[in-house]
């Protein structure tokens, strides 16, 4: 299938400073690509060239097969969701009016706008009564959800996010990341997310692009970057010594579980773990309990399953 976004030899220069230098990669339809790099690596500029908030000095960007330079920037951006760390809600407008911004720009009839705003508040788990509030009356996490609702208002096929969860505290951040994955699963939106946090990139990205000093060092599935870093800087970013644990964090318990023998001694008494948890968490539980296998909870109605220390270790081993 055609990729949703193609970034083709894109560069951006400011005077004699090259901020983005000949970057090429593609984002498959419905995938999340996480762009990681330090601040100043050019990752935000790269993102802003996809919706033409920044014009490339060279190269081109295709979204849905069309060159983004073909249509005026504002028209293009109404079809592409955009979420930033600072959220940037209109402080003088209610949550409802904030979320309704793009549908109104597109000239939707009043009733359709109202229906859509209600739908989005539901989707993001915000009570509909929030529609009448002003952004200042919401918590940071709620504001960020409104920001995402606003970005998704016109049902854009593509969502660009620049450090969207950077200002949230760790617990809320984790929840926001899970919500994003759930949203993507439900809507099939193609997402490019810029972050400086490798854990966030590994948790969210189907693919990861590593930027340094304007150049794209490597782009591919997380496991590939962990197992075969193409550049010393990528290896350093992946923190070589911890990469076995990072690999485990990518795999869910459900994927590594094996059918358990119901007659096995003490199956019921063994420590348990949810099928949605990662193998990294499973390993931690095993180490803590001093056990060598865990009973797996869920999905409901399935046969009893277990995850063994042996299976976990096999997943973490160098190939």
């Amino acid at each position: 299938m055609d990729p949703m976004i193609v970034v083709d030899a894109v560069s951006r220069r400011y005077g004699d400073r090259t901020v983005v230098d000949g970057v090429s990669f593609a984002v498959p339809r419905g995938a999340i690509t996480a762009v990681v790099g330090k601040s100043g690596s050019g990752k935000s500029t790269l993102l802003r060239m996809i919706n033409r908030l920044v014009e490339p000095s060279a190269g081109r960007v295709l979204v849905g097969g069309r060159d983004v330079a073909e249509e005026p920037g504002p028209m293009l951006r109404r079809r592409i969701g955009y979420v930033i760390q600072g959220i940037g809600l209109f402080p003088h407008r209610t949550v409802f009016d904030n979320v309704a911004t793009v549908p109104r720009l597109l000239g939707w009839p009043r009733q359709r706008v109202a229906d859509r705003v209600g739908e989005l508040l539901d989707l993001l788990g915000l009570p509909r009564s929030f529609g009448e509030r002003y952004p200042s009356a919401l918590s940071g996490g709620e504001q960020q959800r409104v920001g995402i609702a606003r970005a998704l208002a016109a049902d854009p096929p593509v969502l660009l996010m620049d450090e969207p969860f950077g200002a949230l505290d760790p617990l809320i951040r984790r929840k926001a990341q899970q919500d994003l994955l759930a949203l993507r699963a439900r809507l099939g939106t193609t997402v490019v997310i810029v972050t400086h946090d490798l854990d966030e990139a590994l948790r969210l990205g189907d693919r990861i692009a590593v930027m340094e000093e304007g150049r794209l060092l490597q782009e591919g599935p997380p496991e590939e970057l962990l197992r075969r870093p193409a550049h010393p800087a990528v290896a350093a970013l992946m923190e070589g010594a911890r990469r076995a644990l990072r690999l485990l964090a990518l795999v869910s318990v459900g994927d590594a579980a094996e059918p358990a023998d119901p007659a096995a001694v003490g199956l019921a008494g063994r420590p348990r773990i949810d099928a949605e948890a990662s193998l990294e968490e499973a390993l931690s539980v095993l180490l803590w309990a001093g056990a060598d296998s865990l009973a797996v909870d869920g999905p409901p109605g399935g046969p009893p399953r277990e995850v063994t220390l042996r299976a976990i270790l096999a997943r973490a081993r160098q190939e």
């Binding site: 293009l76 951006r77 979420v83 930033i84 959220i87 940037g88 402080p91 720009l105 970005a151």
Partner: protein
């Protein structure tokens, strides 16, 4: 409810004095020299007030029409280079005293309302410009960025985000400008512009403190009431 009552009393007093100046008699009669008239009678106070207010309103509106667009232009990326120039011009208007402006403009446009309006306009530009500039600069970069990122055109960003967010500061600049104009307009009477300055000057010339008190008092009361009304608007605009 204190401020509301005070506001009501103020407006009632202003209207009473303009409609029936004789209510002032008990208060200002002692100020008039023996045998001299207590109430200014060469023109009606209401007519003078109307002319005075019209000059203030006209000059302030003109200052807003020039200074706000100027502030908008110099806060656009393409106009940023003109900011020092705009500042210089606007500051010039404030540096030259209105009396000097009168001296310069009377030979050009003659006596009367026009030189006064020009002086008030030039004097009023700076507060409006600086207020608008400060307001537009205070608009959070994230708001601008996300608005643009959603597909608002630069004009839409200005109208639906920047101006509403800058409105309290813009109004504050207008308030300062209008208050200053209200007081300064009295000097217009030196070049034959009709206004309350006429009453004050007549009082000064004939050593009649009662005239000075009624002219000055009405200007002061009007300035306070106007400042209060504009401050109310400002607070309204500042609410989310």
């Amino acid at each position: 409810m204190g401020p509301a009552i005070l506001r009501l009393v103020g407006w009632a007093a202003l209207i009473a004095v303009l409609v029936a100046p004789q209510v002032l008699l008990p208060f200002i009669a002692p100020l008039a020299p023996a045998g001299a008239p207590v109430l200014y009678d060469r023109a009606s106070l209401a007519a003078l007030f109307a002319a005075h207010a019209a000059m203030v309103a006209g000059a302030t509106v003109a200052a807003v029409l020039v200074a706000v667009p100027l502030a908008i232009v110099v806060t656009r990326p393409s106009g940023a280079a003109y900011q020092p120039l705009a500042r210089l011009l606007v500051n010039l208007g404030q540096t030259v005293p209105p009396v000097a402006v009168l001296a310069i403009t009377v030979p050009l446009v003659g006596f009367g309302v026009w030189p006064t309006c020009i002086a008030l306009f030039a004097y009023g530009l700076l507060p409006v410009f600086e207020g608008a500039l400060a307001g537009l600069r205070l608009v959070p970069e994230d708001v601008r960025d996300s608005a643009q990122g959603m597909g608002l055109t630069p004009g839409q960003v200005l109208v639906s985000a920047e101006l509403p967010l800058a409105l309290p500061q813009i109004l504050s600049g207008i308030r300062v400008s209008a208050i200053v104009a209200m007081g300064t307009a009295t000097i217009g009477s030196t070049v034959a512009a009709p206004g309350l300055g006429e009453v004050i000057i007549a009082g000064l010339l004939s050593d009649n403190a009662a005239f000075v008190a009624q002219g000055g008092g009405i200007v002061a009361l009007a300035a306070v009431l106007m400042a209060d009304a504009l401050a109310v608007l400002e607070r309204r605009a500042a609410r989310p």
